[in-house]
């Protein structure tokens, strides 16, 4: 808790202190974003938007709350926004169908390949909320209560979300043990 007060003071001072705080959180935030969104480009956008939002609202941060939960909650909302935008554009593309120009051969395949990195395995298995829960739990060591603060749900819902995700992952591992 004392750390959060120090962080809050650093945030308010801005400048280098803000940057050093953000530097220390960049890798965990980026990792969570990649695991939720499934590709690095969108994850970078989510992280940048998160940092900008933190910077703009740094005066509003209440050090009584966990700083880590606060910034991951902002990141999670940014990721959900990006996924919604992508879903809308994908739906629009489906509606337009053949009217959209097709990318030239080779274009976009690189980014597809880059996006189909490791998280692609969990993208197909889990929902965005479940991916976030797993990334926070296994990747960052969040408890169910902390995950609920990030996801904006009750601790029960967070536990059940994590339960379902872990069940799906275990089932996948048992059925595909040869490929791992």
């Amino acid at each position: 808790m004392t750390d959060d007060y120090a962080v809050a003071a650093g945030l308010r001072r801005g400048g280098e202190e803000f940057r050093s705080v953000m530097d220390s959180y960049w890798a965990p935030l980026m990792g969570a974003a990649v695991n939720i969104l499934g590709n690095r480009e969108d994850a970078e956008d989510a992280c940048q938007e998160t940092f900008v939002q933190i910077f703009r609202n740094r005066e509003a941060y209440d050090p009584a709350r966990s700083f880590r939960n606060w910034i991951f909650a902002i990141l999670y909302r940014r990721c959900i926004d990006i996924l919604r935008k992508k879903r809308r554009s994908r739906d629009a593309a489906i509606r337009l169908g053949n009217e959209l120009p097709r990318p030239a051969r080779g274009q976009g395949q690189d980014s597809e390949a880059a996006g189909a990195a490791v998280p692609a395995r969990i993208l197909a298995l889990l929902s965005a909320r479940e991916r976030a829960a797993v990334a926070l739990w296994a990747g960052e060591g969040f408890s169910a209560a902390e995950i609920s603060a990030v996801l904006g749900c009750s601790a029960s819902t967070a536990r059940v979300t994590l339960f379902n995700a872990r069940r799906k992952l275990k089932s996948f591992l048992e059925n595909n043990h040869g490929s791992f």
Binding site: G14, G15, F18, R19, M22, D23, W26, A27, P28, M30, G31, V34, N35, R40, E44, C47, Q48, F51, V52, F55, R56, A117, V118, P119, R121, I122, L125, V134, A135, W137, A138, G139, S154, A155, S156, T157, R159, V160, F163, N164, A165, R166, R167, L169, K170, S171, L173, F180
Partner: protein
């Protein structure tokens, strides 16, 4: 098939997270057989991407901070964008409520008893004496507005008769 299969099946059909949490998750956390059906943190990490802390920084903090600090007027937040919409919504709701109240008042008055052929319009006061004369058109049952005067000067009159109602509303004002 052990009890874990039943637990997992129950996990799918129970409708509420609180029920699932109480009956299943907490049980699974304690029961070794059920816990074995869940991926451990170590197993879950197989699926996750880890970004090294010393990896290539893809964002430029200085530029990002500079852009944020340089923006005198930050991009309007969602709440700010919604504020005019809320005002319009509240105004529209108030107007709709006023129309509804007027309509219900008109309806209740039009169905009320004790209607006479004559009605006074306006209120005679020392400040704004007004007089008028309306009465039934001979034999037809229609109302005729003869005149409206305010301070002994002709006044502007607006007559309104709601549809499906016998009530006639008359507004009078100075020219």
């Amino acid at each position: 098939m052990d009890h874990s299969d039943g637990i997992m099946a129950l996990a799918r059909i129970l409708p509420f997270a609180s029920w699932k949490d109480r009956l299943l998750v907490r049980h699974a956390e304690r029961c070794p057989a059920c816990a074995a059906r869940l991926a451990t943190a170590e197993e879950a990490r197989i699926f996750l991407v880890r970004i090294p802390q010393t990896g290539n920084r893809v964002w430029n903090p200085a530029a990002l901070l500079g852009a944020s600090e340089a923006s005198v007027r930050p991009e309007p937040s969602r709440t700010l964008r919604l504020r005019p919409a809320w005002r319009w919504t509240a105004a529209a709701a108030g107007f709709g409520l006023a129309v509804l109240l007027t309509w219900s008042l008109v309806r209740s008055l039009s169905s009320g008893p004790g209607r006479t052929g004559f009605a006074s319009v306006g209120r005679r006061t020392a400040d704004a004496p007004a007089e008028s004369r309306i009465g039934p058109h001979a034999g037809s049952g229609d109302l005729r507005l003869a005149y409206i005067r305010i301070d002994n000067e002709p006044a502007r009159a607006i007559v309104f008769k709601p549809r499906d109602s016998n009530l006639v509303l008359v507004w009078a004002g100075r020219y």
